[in-house]
């Protein structure tokens, strides 16, 4: 059809519209030849293939503290004057960097999984109604957490300068991970006689999404505060999985989430050691964040759902199920304080009273 159309149009409007595609190139100028900052680079693949970090050699591996360029010039390539800038607002290394980014990027690719075909869906068995409701409610809650993570990453992604492309590459995998988590959780909720539950009120989602001051601020809430809690939730869900399908989903989500936290903690460490005041800012943010987190913990939907899952039903939830959940929260706060300490953020003295209460049991 295209052939027929083209000959018709060519005859109708040949004079005004034809631009001969052959015009303009016949004599090559080769102005590009020899224009390189560094030549003779020959990176050889290692036992794990040719990884992103492997090609960080010579000047190509030099990551500056500040990236002036607001174009998409690949790091190490020759620039071109007169190129209009793009709105890359994160141009300092301390605003986004984590040394592990390139490795996490490759790991994410190697550890990809496919909910449609790799989750053993045929292992699902009918569960008691109260347990199914609890599982579905957790799928709903965790979906909303994954959605928040997806939205905050993609909000910042295109503001990050190309000098730090390893971080952008890694965050692309995190974006995809979040999409896959949304998919897997939705599939679990809709495949075993249940459905979705009630949405979260969204206290912590709100503080994450409203972190407009900088990516680091978002990372404080997304990974250090909430992410640390989600790890404990996923670990708890994995230990109480009812079938192989759930075990597969939770264990793979944990793998994904562990990468996300590794980036998050590593970035906060980098920021706190390379930017004056960063630790103090994080401390202030966390004092505010803990209050929201505490309020969310007290709301009870997640706690009750987890208690029902741990207790094998409402009856067991009222006793040992809730007790186990409270231990989970205590473990979360212990982890949180340990990481804060390692990052040089003092939270123990002014820890939110509700957090203290959970710690004291």
């Amino acid at each position: 059809m295209a052939d027929k159309l083209s000959s018709k149009a060519a005859s109708v409007d040949r004079e005004s519209k034809i631009v001969d595609p052959t015009r303009g190139v016949p004599e090559p100028k080769y102005e590009w030849r020899g224009l390189t900052n560094e030549w003779d680079v020959r990176v050889i693949p290692g036992p794990h293939g040719l990884r992103l970090g492997d090609v960080n050699v010579g000047s190509y591996g030099e990551v500056p503290d500040y990236w002036e360029d607001q174009t998409r010039r690949p790091r190490g390539s020759v620039g071109r004057p007169g190129i209009p800038p793009l709105p890359y607002s994160l141009r300092s290394k301390h605003e986004l960097w984590a040394d592990c980014s390139a490795d996490l990027y490759e790991e994410a690719i190697q550890r990809r999984w496919i909910p449609a075909t790799e989750v053993p869906w045929d292992s699902l068995q009918t569960l008691p109604d109260d347990v199914e409701k609890a599982v579905c409610q957790m799928c709903t809650e965790l979906s909303q957490c994954a959605n928040t993570e997806l939205e905050i990453i993609t909000y910042w992604q295109d503001r990050m300068s190309y000098g730090y492309f390893e971080v952008k590459q890694y965050l692309a995998t995190a974006t995809f991970d979040c999409a896959r988590q949304l998919e897997a959780l939705r599939k679990r909720a809709l495949s075993n006689g249940g459905g979705l539950g009630i949405e979260s009120r969204g206290r912590v989602n709100r503080i994450i999404l409203e972190s407009s001051g900088g990516w680091t601020e978002a990372v404080v809430y997304l990974y250090l505060l909430r992410g640390t809690y989600i790890t404990r939730l996923l670990t708890g869900l994995l230990s109480a999985a009812h079938n192989e399908a759930e075990a597969f989903i939770y264990s793979h989500m944990l793998e994904d989430h562990a990468r996300h936290l590794t980036y998050g903690y590593d970035h906060l460490k980098y920021a706190s050691t390379h930017k004056d005041d960063a630790s103090l800012i994080m401390q202030t943010l966390l004092a505010v964040g803990e209050a929201h987190m505490a309020a969310e913990l007290k709301e009870g939907v997640v706690g009750s759902a987890m208690a029902i899952i741990f207790g094998g039903g409402i009856k067991g939830a009222r006793t040992f199920g809730m007790e186990r959940y409270l231990l989970l929260v205590r473990d979360f706060i212990t982890d949180y304080l340990t990481i804060c300490r390692e990052l040089g953020i003092d939270r123990e003295k002014t820890l939110h009273p509700v957090f203290k209460k959970y710690l004291e049991g």
Binding site: S6, D13, R73, T140, L150, Y162, G195, E210, I314, T319
Partner: protein
């Protein structure tokens, strides 16, 4: 722990939420391709709102809470703005066809190339390194702006962000793995009015990115067998083409959906296509276009060296011809065939001139 343990009042079990579950009794079953996104489009969970009022980021079909915070200022909240009929399939395909540039490219097949050929390949890799992440940055931005009610379309865009990161990575690796290096950037992807970056409407962006920009690149990747100098490069182009085809399919299917569901926007879309077509051969975003340095490099690669430039240039014209033909097919498929029949588009004439 014991069953006799009494919980403090504040830790008493709250089961009120159990009375507020959304549609219940849903049992989606896996089909031949596993449990796909299409399989869970059941009951109310499969109902797509034409206009989404979801401002809280809740999963589609879950029960809304009146007291939930309105944290989602979603710019894209009408179905016609972003929807496409085959989003579920494109997303599942993307998951099945992920690949690793570290381990799936036969890097050991790289052999030293003559300087002119290595330089040409490295220029092309620099170009692709630069442009591939336009296609990562921009869709990412639109994910955050789109209501989660259209999660299938958002998930396809998430897969695209991943794909483009891998493309950027594979071209950088190639440039630095065979005795060459990166060369001069093209600057083709900067913020000019009418560029992919600056579009303030999703469909405008998709028309530029998926239909014209990635469409031209897809044709090139498909021709990678012609200009790839070894199995590593041929594999690289083949795998990138596979990904790129999904991205282009997104644009075509979305445009088709929009033209059917929002016919009042057709003339506006025609204007985007006018702009895109002005740039298709003349702009720098097409690596085989008339204005780009990369087209010289391509001719060197296609000819097998500078001394065979003329021969390479003839092959380059075949690529351009194919780009034009495939572009027209896509636009026709998207429901905009008229522009090629009524003289509005210069592409048929350009195509005829290459015969």
């Amino acid at each position: 722990m014991s069953e006799a343990t009494e919980m403090p009042r504040e830790h008493e079990l709250d089961t009120s939420w159990m009375d507020n579950m959304a549609e219940w009794g849903v049992s989606a079953k896996p089909g031949k391709r596993g449990l796909t996104l299409a399989d869970i489009q059941v009951g109310s969970y499969g109902e797509l709102p034409k206009v989404s009022d979801n401002m809280t980021g809740r999963p589609r079909g879950s029960t809304a809470r009146p007291e939930a915070y309105r944290v989602g200022a979603y710019q894209v909240h009408t179905l016609s703005e972003i929807w496409l009929e085959n989003a579920e399939y494109l997303y599942e395909e993307a998951l099945q066809r992920q690949w690793s540039s570290a381990t799936d490219i036969p890097w050991h097949t790289l052999k030293p190339l003559p300087d002119d050929v290595e330089e040409a390949e490295c220029l092309l890799c620099t170009f692709f390194n630069e442009v591939e992440f336009v296609a990562g940055d921009v869709p990412a931005r639109w994910i955050a702006r789109t209501t989660p009610d259209y999660l299938e379309a958002r998930n396809v865009l998430s897969a695209q962000v991943m794909d483009e990161a891998r493309h950027m990575d594979v071209f950088r690796k190639r440039a630095l793995a065979n005795g060459g290096g990166l060369m001069r950037m093209s600057g083709a992807t900067s913020g000019f009015v009418g560029s992919i970056d600056l579009a303030r409407d999703f469909t405008e962006m998709s028309t530029r990115l998926h239909i014209s920009g990635e469409g031209a690149v897809l044709t090139m990747f498909r021709m990678g067998e012609l200009f790839g100098q070894n199995d590593a490069e041929k594999t690289m182009y083949r795998l990138c083409a596979q990904d790129e085809a999904r991205h282009v399919a997104f644009g075509v299917m979305h445009l088709r959906c929009l033209s059917e569901t929002a016919p009042e926007r057709r003339e506006e879309i025609e204007c985007y296509l006018d702009e895109a077509e002005d740039q298709l051969m003349a702009g720098q975003q097409n690596p085989a276009g008339r204005q780009s340095e990369s087209s010289e490099a391509l001719a060197v690669l296609l000819g097998g060296g500078i001394e065979h430039y003329d021969e390479g240039h003839k092959k380059l014209l075949v690529i351009r011809r194919r780009q034009l033909k495939e572009y027209m097919k896509r636009v026709i498929s998207a429901g905009f065939a008229d522009r090629f029949e009524n003289g509005r588009s210069p592409v048929p004439a350009q195509y005829a001139a290459t015969a």
